[in-house]
Amino acid sequence: MSATSANRYDLLVIGAGIMGATAALRAAQGGMRVIVVERDVAGSGASGVNAGTLSLQIKRVGLMRYALRGYEWWREAGEAVGFKRTGGYTLAFTASEQALLEERMTKKRDAGAPIELVSPAEARAREPALSDRVVGASYCAADGYADSTRTGPYLRGLLRAANVHLHEHTLARSIDAGGDGFRVATPGGPIDARRLLIASGAWTASVAAMLGVTLPINVRVNTVSVTEPGPRRLHAAIGHATGLLTLKQKANGSYLIGGGWQGRGSPATGRGEVDGETLLQNLRLARFAVPALAHTRVLRSWTGFEASVADHYPLAGVLPGVPNAYVLACVRGGYTIGPFIGPLVADLILGREPELPLFDPTRVLAVTTRDGSRAADGRVPGK
């Protein structure tokens, strides 16, 4: 490592999604000289193609405190990200779904989310577009959504204002870890930095592999669809007891339909494909929940990659075995939680005590290398 301190960054972040960008911002505020490299453009991965749902009802109990704080970031960003606080209903159509709904929502309410159980009659009185087959429902007044396509431009503006260097269309081809820092090879030449944060979403495992670290990350290929604009029929964001539906009618009148139905593809090729059969099931579930969808036209379906590890808790902390390297990925509900947990990891990098505990990535290595035994320091809040 021959770079002089003059052109070396204090922190290089790989990935300009919500995680990487908000971590970079906090690090810059903390006095670091920060650069973010992005293989595509800011917010072009999961941050920009997800359904934009900001629902506390679909957050995990163990992540609720993080979700409540992340939600505040979106609320404050407001119109610039298309934030809408619409309230949200989660619906059950069978007795077993109702039991699932009541169990889950009670726990989430106890974890701090302002969720109430409502009767089907009440739900339909307030939201007449809902199916008359609803047997149980919960409501969260805070729920809503943002326009995920605006995430990237918004983050880009924040990074510029904070004087964080953002190199888009810049693929990290290889990483040399030597001496007291890192040299990342990019098409525009090498970049040197004292510290490294991998916040590369679905590509996190392949970036970590450049440093010889094998992260057991699974990638899901989530499907989202949008319809043509239609007259205003639906006000609240709609979910399903199983978490397999997100549905809202956006400000322009189009319906956005998601819920994590699986397509095909892999981050290696960068190509995700819509599976015609699962798309139909997703549309059917949406149509069943909100019959007002009848005879709207589906304009477009697409997929986004979502990374996760076996326990579905985040990787947020030191990259095991590589001094001065950090990782932030696999955050379930990462769209909502990202802008809170990103800065938390930056606090760790800045040598500050994070406000809430992080999620030591060592635990996932321990699981794979020690025949299932959990590392002593693997902490999982809420369990």
Binding site: R60, T149, T227, E273, G276, F288, L293, V298, L299, S301
Partner: protein
């Protein structure tokens, strides 16, 4: 659903052909003759595509050569052993477990065709160059005008300005006159002499050249003003009385400020700027594409046997590069032969393929020359005023797109996600080419670097209820709930 394509259940076949125009119909007929089980899908009620479009049961105003050729093609398709799915809108194609799945919506609801091979013969789509007022009622494309006239027997207006570039100008003007309408003027971006630059390739089809000269005579005898080297800049007024302003342009497409514009009064404007390969299916399938202005722009890459770079995927006709209706059937037959060989159903050295290839190359020369004549210089794009709407669906002006480009949008996908350009019902068909040219003009990047928009299903907007069909809630295959 996962039956082997060779097992022979309903909905499975050796080869599915998308599009029953000249290329697709020829491919299907040839594949059937080679003993393959063929499914032919088209959105229209009968075969023929755009070139030989007709209405079943309605006689043409006057018998012409296209109608006769179209009828011949239709009767051959009808006689061949082909599983025909007309009135089917294909909304998705995907490759799963060594087969292609073609999802379509037909009169009886959704249908999925499983095929070992897929021949994409979806033809071309029209290129547009925006001008002030092009989103107004009364302004339609040349291709749309031919549909109206050929299939619906409706004139776009009584007194029509026909504008743009390329041979379709004359085709539409002649059809309007034959249908009893008046052509207020033909506004042709080409200078009068541009045709001579391609004379050598044009003489490869003297019959078609003679036909074109005949059309020009028709225009002269009806006293139709021909404004060569002009482009439409503005259309205003309402459909009872539209005012179109045509401005003179140089060879690079830039307007000549010193030469006066011409005002034309009319009740309809038909405009189009040449044809581009329809790449939506091959993009969705994930095949490799290349940008070549001589072939109409972005086209799927095929080898000499019309194979794409994905297993079991073939393309024929204008979708593989605009080469015209003469080359299309030859390419269709080449593709069908390749499918038969690749599926092990025909001797790899079978005769005939070589001759077809030579014929295809010869026929393509004429089409390629026509395609080059049907293009307009970057100046025509660079001089679009800032207030002009480029993306009609999302009502985005050039100013908005330029702002996003200056803000860092370097690819068509960047521009799409930053501004929603091309995300409306037209799926970018009207605006993507212009948007990409704006990026190229402003950044100096090549069209190859700027790329195409990622292909997404549905290929055309589809009714959600028609897709969802009737279903039982309890039968929905619900995956495991998300973790608590």
């Amino acid at each position: 659903m996962s039956a082997s394509p060779h097992a022979g259940p309903a909905g499975s076949c050796d080869v599915a052909v998308l599009g029953a125009g000249p290329a697709g119909a020829a491919a299907a007929i040839e594949a059937s003759a080679l003993g393959l089980r063929v499914a032919l899908l088209d959105e229209q009620p009968i075969a023929g595509g755009q070139v030989y479009r007709a209405v079943p049961g309605i006689a043409p105003v006057r018998a012409d050569r296209d109608r006769a050729e179209g009828d011949r093609l239709r009767s051959t398709v009808a006689d061949a052993n082909i599983e025909r799915h007309f009135c089917h809108r294909v909304w998705h194609v995907e490759r799963v477990d060594d087969e292609w799945r073609v999802h379509a919506l037909g009169p009886e609801g959704p249908r999925t065709v499983h095929a070992a091979a897929l021949i994409v013969a979806t033809g071309a789509q029209e290129r547009h160059v925006p001008f002030a007022g092009w989103e107004r009622p009364g302004v339609i494309g040349l291709a749309a005008a031919t549909v109206l006239i050929k299939a619906q027997r409706i004139l776009p207006g009584r007194n029509v300005v026909v504008a743009g570039v390329g041979p379709l100008l004359l085709v539409v003007a002649k059809a309007i006159i034959e249908g009893g309408g008046r052509v207020a003027a033909i506004v042709d971006a080409n200078a009068r002499g541009d045709w001579f630059a391609h004379a050598r390739d044009l003489v490869s089809r003297p019959d078609l050249v003679a036909r074109g000269i005949g059309w020009i005579r028709t225009m002269r005898s009806h006293g139709v003003p021909m404004l060569h080297g002009h482009i439409l800049r503005t259309v205003d007024g309402d459909t009872r009385s539209l005012r179109a302003v045509a401005a003179p342009i140089g060879r690079d497409g830039h307007p000549h400020a010193e030469v006066a514009s011409t005002e034309l009064l009319c009740d309809a404007v038909c405009c189009g700027f040449g044809l581009m390969p329809a790449t939506d299916v091959t993009r969705l399938a994930g095949a490799a594409h290349a940008f070549d202005p001589a072939r109409g722009g972005w086209h799927v890459i095929v080898d000499a046997d019309q194979r794409c770079d994905l297993p079991g995927l073939y393309a024929a006709g204008d979708g593989a590069g605009v080469t015209g209706a003469a080359a299309a059937p030859l390419q269709g037959r080449i593709a069908a032969s390749a499918v038969a060989r690749d599926l092990g159903r025909m001797d790899a050295n079978a005769r005939g393929a070589r001759g077809k290839k030579r014929g295809s190359v010869r026929a393509a020369r004429f089409g390629t020359a026509m395609t080059q004549l049907a293009s307009v210089g970057d100046g025509a794009i660079a001089s679009i005023p800032a207030d002009v709407i480029v993306c009609q669906c999302e009502r985005l002006s050039r100013r908005v797109l330029d702002g996003a480009i200056d803000d860092g949008c370097a690819t068509i996908n960047d521009l799409k996600s930053a501004t929603r350009c091309g995300m409306g019902p037209c799926g970018g068909r009207l605006c993507e080419d212009t948007a990409a040219r704006l990026i190229a003009i402003r950044t100096g990047r090549t069209r190859t670097d700027i790329g195409q928009a990622t292909g997404r299903p549905p290929l055309r907007p589809v009714d959600l209820d028609a897709l969802a069909g009737t279903f039982d809630y309890d039968a929905l295959p619900m995956p495991v709930p998300s973790p608590l």
